[in-house]
Amino acid sequence: MRVVREQKDTGEAKEAFGKIYNKYKNDLWRLCKSICGDDSNADLVFEATWRKVLNNPSYDYNQYSVSFNTWMSKIANRAWLDIRVKAILGSDAEMPEIAVAPEDFNFEEADESISINEKLLEEALHQLSEKEYDVLLTYIEYDTDQKKHVPDQIIEALKTKYQTTSVNLRKIKSRALQKVKDYIDKRR
């Protein structure tokens, strides 16, 4: 991507970017559609991700040893969080810098990582209310680097959305997690 950004000739830069775009556009769109739900949200995340990939020098793929797809997925995730927070707190809401820093990547591929049966997972998630689902998944989105720190802006957005306190949010998250675990444990 750095090569694309450093091209002096606009035509050549567009052509170089076009090759990358064509290779990964379908996978990114599939992700956006699956995760963001309706088309307008998927549109926003898809476009924001490509813009960050092209225009933001702090997103430098060459620094990381993950596939390009995964790298883009991380950027899309931050874009999605950004959009949701701004939708709740207003467009002036300052999100933490969303540069994809090296420590943000979890290079360790846990062997047991994908060990929950998908059908069971879907059933378990259906046990949750919309609020529980939203709170639990928002917290988990920030657990990728194992720091378990949800930025203040995200907490603020959730507090505003559900008219509750930080303490209650943590309780909702714990209760939802326990509910999913209990459901899965009983059916294993």
Partner: protein, 121 residues
């Protein structure tokens, strides 16, 4: 509760808390592999692509033009709607006229047309 009982109870709580942490990590990975959250590792991404069906990319995203179009459309300065169209050759004619050059009749006619068109807008 005896002190031994308390220790056992705290130990159980710690174990439960640890179990929940382990479960949360597994759940996170499962969610990132099944299209609920964006994948964060290559294996989660591979799993997601294997498990989900491709979806049709909208026509507007078939090419990356939307990214470059936005860059072009960023207005440096807003102009009023009623100003003369300065796009393309009209701009050159206006410059030529300002420099006192004689313009051919065909160009003068074209400028009149442009002016009329812009007044209609």
């Amino acid at each position: 509760m005896t002190s031994a009982g308390k220790i056992v109870s705290i130990s159980n709580m710690n174990k439960m808390s640890k179990d929940l942490d382990v479960f949360e990590a597994k759940l996170g990975s499962a969610l990132r592999s099944s299209g609920h959250l964006f994948p964060g590792t290559d294996s989660e991404m591979e799993h997601f692509l294997e498990q989900t069906d491709p979806v049709t990319l909208p026509e507007k995203y078939q090419t990356p033009d939307f990214i470059f179009e936005e860059d072009v459309h960023v207005p440096v300065k807003k102009v009023s709607i009623n100003t003369v169209d300065f796009s393309g050759s009209a701009k050159n004619w206006a410059l030529a006229a300002r420099n006192g050059k004689n313009l051919p009749q065909s160009i003068l006619d074209k400028m009149k047309e442009d002016k009329k068109r812009s007044q209609k807008k």
